[in-house]
């Protein structure tokens, strides 16, 4: 049999998004802030947290680590106080035209709850602990009860997150 140059894009995505030369030193950044992988473009676009959640990154620890590193390099603008919890996660953004899970790193400190994204560097969600009325843990996601309403959030180690946050709020975790 003769090799064929398949017209399908799967082979291309596989190579161009995950393989090929990269720069380390002089580089700006690569690939949209999240590692777009050849696994499935849909999954890649759905964001890091979803991929981690579905175990799609098992074969991609290089990319995962790189992403993790890049996310961790810049310090989040925390207001001070001990960091009680930090971990990859996301928040449901259901307003406006683009409904999606926005990924970042969750921080629970003695003062606040923060979801921080490094690239682009911004605060996706921030709340003083005093504004949080409760936290309800589920299998898939966590519900955050605020003065102004409810937020749907997700993270690795959700159980630990809920316990930590409930502890910080001096609330019983539900």
């Amino acid at each position: 049999m003769r090799p064929e140059r398949a017209d399908g894009i799967v082979d291309l995505l596989d190579r161009l998004l995950d393989k090929g030369l990269l720069l380390n030193a002089d580089i700006v950044i690569t690939v949209a802030g999240i590692p777009l992988l050849g696994v499935s473009l849909n999954a890649a676009l759905a964001g890091m947290e979803t991929m981690l959640h579905h175990g799609m990154l098992e074969d991609w620890d290089r990319s995962t680590r790189a992403w993790h590193l890049s996310q961790a390099r810049i310090e989040p603008p925390l207001q001070g106080g001990e960091i009680l919890f930090s971990g990859l996660g996301s928040i449901w953004h259901g307003r406006g035209t683009l409904k999606t899970w926005k990924p970042g790193i969750w921080y629970v400190t003695e003062k606040e709850l923060l979801l921080w994204s490094r690239e682009p560097a911004n605060i996706i969600f921030q709340s003083e602990l005093s504004m949080i009325r409760g936290v309800i843990g589920g299998n898939e996601e966590v519900s955050l009860i605020l003065d102004g309403g409810e937020e749907r959030i997700r993270m690795d180690r959700a159980e630990q997150f809920c316990q930590t946050l409930a502890g910080a709020l001096a609330l019983p975790a539900r």
């Binding site: 398949a6 894009i9 082979d11 190579r15 998004l17 030369l21 580089i27 949209a32 802030g33 696994v39």
Partner: protein
């Protein structure tokens, strides 16, 4: 200062040429692609801002990926095997920054181009039809076949647990048969090629032909032009076996095999 600081060069590939050349308006979004040489080594670039290409639209990213690869194809046609860059790699600075980048690794890039010269990357994927494997296993394993027969003759309700047990044994047998096949084709390919990289088994199927089949082996290999036919003939043997199908694609630029020296 803003403008100069923001200048960048989107990198497509490294190739062997000492000339500055216009390759056409063939880059991302129709950007003009140029070669920027230092010595006998050049980079194919387009001029851009020092910001990554980012989009939330899947179709946009696909378009960019296709354009990026097209530049690599054009460069390969023109200059022979190139060292391809991943999508969205941008060097901060102007053409001089590109030259400086090449200058600092000139020897390593030259020897890497030399090593890969006359070679290209190919992918070999082996798919199998699970039901054909199951038939084959039942033909060879009398014990399992007898168990399957005895279940048929029992009343429906009483055979449930036996049926589950049989299914599990069959599944184990299929899995180990698939591992055997992966090893077999890996060995076969390895004997014929310069370098091999076993890839994870993905669940995505590349096209309709392999619908309903399982990916058993996913192998990337680096081949000299003269090894393509011998590998093709060896793959024919596997492809003709019942329940198996081989997908053989290439040539691709050596995305999986081009290496840069470690950067400090």
């Amino acid at each position: 200062m803003g403008v100069e600081m923001d200048e960048g060069r989107y990198l497509y590939a490294i190739m062997r040429t000492d000339r500055e050349e216009f390759l056409g308006a063939i880059g991302l979004d129709g950007s003009e692609v140029w070669t920027v040489p230092y010595g006998e080594v050049a980079a194919a670039i387009h001029r851009c801002q020092a910001r990554p290409y980012v989009s939330e639209a899947e179709s946009q990213i696909k378009d960019w990926v296709i354009e990026h690869n097209y530049v690599i194809d054009v460069a390969t046609e023109r200059f022979g095997t190139v060292l391809p860059f991943s999508f969205d790699v941008i060097l901060r600075g102007d053409d001089e920054a590109v030259r400086g980048w090449i200058e600092r690794r000139h020897a390593a890039l030259t020897s890497e181009l030399e090593r890969l010269s006359g070679k290209a990357e190919y992918t070999v994927q082996l798919f199998c039809d699970e039901s054909a494997l199951e038939e084959e296993i039942l033909r060879e394993d009398e014990d399992l076949a007898a168990q399957k027969e005895s279940i048929k003759s029992r009343p429906r309700g009483s055979s449930y647990l036996l049926q589950r047990g049989l299914e599990m044994r069959l599944r184990d047998a299929i899995r180990s048969r698939m591992n055997q096949l992966e090893e077999e084709i890996g060995q076969m390919v390895e004997d014929l090629v310069d370098e091999i990289k076993v890839q994870p088994r993905r669940t995505i199927l590349p096209d309709e032909r392999f619908k309903g089949m399982r990916l058993v082996a996913n192998i990337c290999c680096l081949l000299s032009d003269e090894s393509v036919d011998p590998l093709g003939r060896a793959l024919d043997l596997l492809n003709s076996r019942k329940g198996l199908a081989v997908r053989f694609t290439g040539p691709w630029a050596p995305f999986n095999f081009a290496r840069l020296p470690e950067e400090s």
